[in-house]
């Protein structure tokens, strides 16, 4: 292909975002070492501690473990979905504020033919890439432990982790894009991510929660992601319910997208 020598406007959002590939590749080359622990090591430590060691004390009764025959089988899909969420929280909070406020990198980017939506798609694309490699490694490492009922189930669980990532990425990105300073992030992590992580059915069946707490848990996006992932890994899929999970997560991702474009535009264009 001939080298392009004249500058042009991109033909659409995706082609605009694709122009930022090299930026994100260079950024990743610089930072990947720092992300090894959060992406690859800590999820596996959780599996080891929770699934194998703690799980050894828990009776593998399918009637109380949502159909799982061991606690490891129960907790692995929960951790997979939670991992997708955790990565996204890290990727679209402080880094977004950095590029809007501290370094003004976004302002440099949008002084070119690229626009606000292109910049968002590229950043979200990078966040999903981080989710993808982390979750892929997780799936590959967990496979020998027999936590996946089938290859299709493993593949499905992996794809769901991307959907979970996207469903969290767009709204949290939107939130970050409009914040004036970073202090609310502490709340986002402590009162947002931590409770979701602990109480959305990743570690214990939400049937254990009291009446209204269970309703709250079922309303959270992570529960939908965990439940969907678990159905797939255990190979026992309730299709109508699975469709509701997918729809819920997809709607959240789409609404978050529109909100993100609105907030970042408002922040940057004046």
């Amino acid at each position: 292909m001939a080298e392009i020598e004249t500058s042009t406007a991109p033909s659409g959002v995706l082609s605009g975002a694709a122009r930022m590939f090299d930026y994100w590749a260079i950024a990743y080359k610089r930072t990947w070492k720092g992300s090894v622990i959060t992406s690859f090591v800590s999820p596996l430590l959780y599996v080891l501690a929770m699934g194998v060691l703690l799980g050894g004390f828990i009776e593998g009764d399918p009637s109380t473990l949502e159909g799982a025959t061991s606690y490891l089988d129960f907790v692995a899909p929960g951790l997979l979905a939670a991992q997708a969420m955790t990565i996204v929280f890290g990727e679209v909070t402080y880094p977004v504020m950095g590029m809007v406020k501290w370094h003004k990198t976004y302002f440099g980017m949008t002084a070119t033919p690229l626009g606000v939506p292109d910049v968002i798609v590229a950043h979200l694309g990078f966040a999903l890439f981080r989710v993808a490699i982390s979750c892929a490694v997780f799936v590959v490492v967990m496979a020998p432990f027999g936590v996946f009922a089938s290859v299709a189930g493993a593949l499905g669980a992996f794809l769901v982790s991307l959907l979970v990532g996207l469903a969290f990425a767009t709204p949290i990105y939107a939130l970050s894009a409009g914040l004036k300073d970073e202090s609310p992030f502490a709340l986002v992590f402590r009162l947002g991510m931590m409770p979701l992580f602990l109480f959305s059915g990743a570690f214990f069946p939400i049937a254990n929660l009291d009446g209204w707490l269970q309703v709250v848990a079922k309303a959270t996006p992570l529960w939908h992601g965990v439940d969907l992932t678990r159905m797939l890994t255990l190979g026992d899929v309730d299709w109508p319910l699975a469709a509701i999970h997918v729809l819920y997560l997809a709607v959240l991702a789409v609404l978050g997208w529109f909100w993100a474009v609105r907030r970042l535009t408002k922040r940057m264009v004046s």
Binding site: E3, I4, E5, S7, F21, G108, M109, A111
Partner: protein
């Protein structure tokens, strides 16, 4: 190349640009001279197609920024007032990724990066991190970055503000070369020497309005005298003495620390002041500058 008619910019109820007419021609180097808050950056950001126009019309390269923003931005180069470099990337990577945003091929960008590094004399710093560069180097890098797409118009918002005199001269030298290559340049500044050095034609802006327009020389000829005698007396004496020398000059300006006597022949005027028995602590005779034009038009100094 750029045509603005009755161009306005408001932020809420505040109007930063209050209806200006500007016409920049191809190959020309055009300046906006004005003090802090005059509306220079607001104007530049509209021209750069990153800030929506609030009123009037604006055409850049014949295109409307409202509908053709990306196309316009693909054909211009922008050096914003505040650096937006990626401080965590190297000098070379900053240029490389920027070139890619314009849709240019990797090989083309790599070639241009080397050329531009040479041009702004940063070849040796190619692999340094941006955060380790001096202010002047960052500015030169930003200028190099704005040239990566071979722009038809180069917009420079205060290219040398905050730089030491030596660094400023290096930047001026590079901009002068671009001007000689025929690049259309639009710059803002609140330094009258920068405006004089770099612009063929300029507008003087104050409080969102254009108060004068022309070449540096014609503006001086039109709004000031050939020479200025600056006289410094004791603190608090200036007002009283101004009254005594009023008839010796075309015009007398009283500043807190000195008197300015606008006249054709400064030395002669100073001699006459001495004849009247007045002994200034310091006297200086100089040619009129754009600073004097600005003082004349607005009653204020450019840099305070």
């Amino acid at each position: 190349m750029i045509l603005a008619q009755g161009l306005r910019k408001s932020f809420g109820a505040f109007e930063a640009v209050k209806g200006i007419d500007v016409d920049v021609r191809r190959g020309e180097s055009f300046g906006f001279l004005g003090p802090n808050g005059a509306g220079k950056s607001s104007t530049m950001r509209m021209v750069a197609a990153v800030s929506p126009v609030s009123g009037g019309t604006l055409r850049i390269l014949g295109l409307d920024p409202d509908t053709d923003g990306p196309e316009i931005r693909s054909r211009i180069g922008v050096c914003p007032q505040e650096d937006t470099l990626d401080t965590e990337l190297t000098v070379r990577d900053n240029l490389f990724v920027y070139g890619r945003y314009f849709g240019l091929g990797r090989k083309v960008v790599r070639e241009r990066v080397d050329e531009l590094l040479e041009f702004v004399q940063l070849t040796e710093k190619a692999d340094a991190m941006v955060e380790d560069l001096s202010g002047g180097m960052k500015r030169r890098l930003t200028i190099a970055r704005s040239l990566i797409n071979r722009p038809e118009i180069l917009l420079l918002d205060e290219p040398t503000t905050g730089l030491d005199p030596q660094a400023r001269h290096v930047v001026w030298d590079r901009l002068f070369r671009l001007k000689q290559q025929g690049v259309t340049i639009v710059l803002t500044t609140h330094y009258m020497d920068e405006a004089e050095q770099l612009s063929d034609r300029l507008v003087v802006m104050d409080k969102g309005l254009i108060v004068a327009e022309g070449s540096p020389l014609s503006l001086i000829a039109e709004h000031s005298t050939r020479e200025v005698a600056e006289l410094r007396f004791g603190v608090g004496e200036h007002e009283a003495i101004a009254a005594k020398v009023e008839d010796l000059a075309d015009r007398v300006e009283v500043l807190p620390d000195r008197l300015l006597l606008y006249t054709v022949d400064g030395e002669e005027t100073v001699a006459k002041v001495h004849e009247r028995g007045l002994e200034p602590i310091v006297t200086l005779v100089r040619r009129s500058t754009l600073e004097d034009v600005f003082l004349r038009l607005t009653g204020r100094t450019l840099v305070d």
